[in-house]
Symmetry: C2
């Protein structure tokens, strides 16, 4: 957090390389990925790493944070003219697309929390906050779309999102024709237009 | 797999103690739990452990298998007189109860697969098989209850189950009043009685 930011488009800094390595290797291999492997992937010495981050936990959290900042693709643009219902379904349509990608391992914010098993871990907190934002998006759109209980619909939809991303991530179900259709069923029942 | 089975109710064998330690410690702390910790918890030497299991992976799989054999609580008894709809909702009501338990970390079969990130791992295969059985239960009951597309309803319900168990396991949502109610909404939409 103290490094001077010298980033530009083409040359990531050592700090950025470490963050990207932490995000991608933990996503691919799990939170048990070693510091050595992270440093090697980033091309940064362990000594330098520990000058930038107090611990691997700290690095994992900062890596997830950086991923979240770049990860705006799931939610439609704020100025899209679509209805609340369409804006909610957009999220599930993107999820179905992502589920087909070869390296897809499910929602990284959910996986991080499932693996760490500690809601107080700094990376769990990042994951929790990102998903709370998604739940708030669902709730607000459901409310705008006429749901009598928008908070309840928000809980339902983020639960559905996590179930679909988890099952696609473990290759139990490709969720094609399933995630968005089920969201649609829940929106119908809640009267969201 | 080769040990003579000398088990009785009160004295678990070293093999059983290892299996129970593998199931409970991996559930509590994750699949990264060390062989030393497993042997210590079981009161078994590493040497003995490697005489019984070829690897930690093998032990994790066998531990999950043993857990699955003991874990019949989620599904109602085969001879229960309830309707298909009630039998399906029973599963989600139990899930809501389990979600309140202090040590609850979500569905162990899902967590194992999320953590291992390898569908071919022997423990992933156990987890996958157990959940495929749950999906088949949902599908068969939905069919008996009059669903036009029982397979689709089975996919929806196991997705809902995994989402609810994951969110409860990470303490993002206690799923009270949520899991069974959402299952009910999906059953209504599918016309399952």
């Amino acid at each position: 957090m103290t490094a001077v930011n010298t980033e530009n488009e083409s040359v990531p800094t050592p700090r950025e390389r470490l963050l990207d390595a932490a995000a991608s290797l933990s996503y691919q291999d799990g939170v048990g990925v070693g510091v050595e492997a992270l440093c090697k992937a980033a091309g940064v010495s362990k000594r330098s790493m520990y000058q930038m981050f107090t611990s691997k936990d700290d690095l994992l959290a900062a890596g997830l944070e950086r991923r979240a900042a770049a990860d705006e693709r799931l939610v439609p643009p704020a100025d899209s003219p679509s209805s609340p219902r369409e804006r909610i379904l957009y999220v599930f349509e993107r999820l179905e697309e992502h589920a087909l990608l070869e390296g897809y391992r499910g929602c990284p914010y959910l996986a991080m929390q499932v693996e760490l098993k500690d809601p107080e871990h700094p990376a769990s907190r990042v994951g929790h906050r990102v998903k709370a934002q998604l739940e708030a998006f669902f709730r607000d759109e459901a409310g705008r779309g006429g749901a009598a209980e928008p908070e309840f619909v928000g809980r339902q939809l983020v639960l559905l999102f996590d179930g679909a991303s988890a099952r696609a991530g473990i290759r139990a179900d490709d969720v094609q024709g399933l995630a968005a259709a089920t969201a649609g069923t829940l929106l119908d029942a809640a009267g969201v237009r």
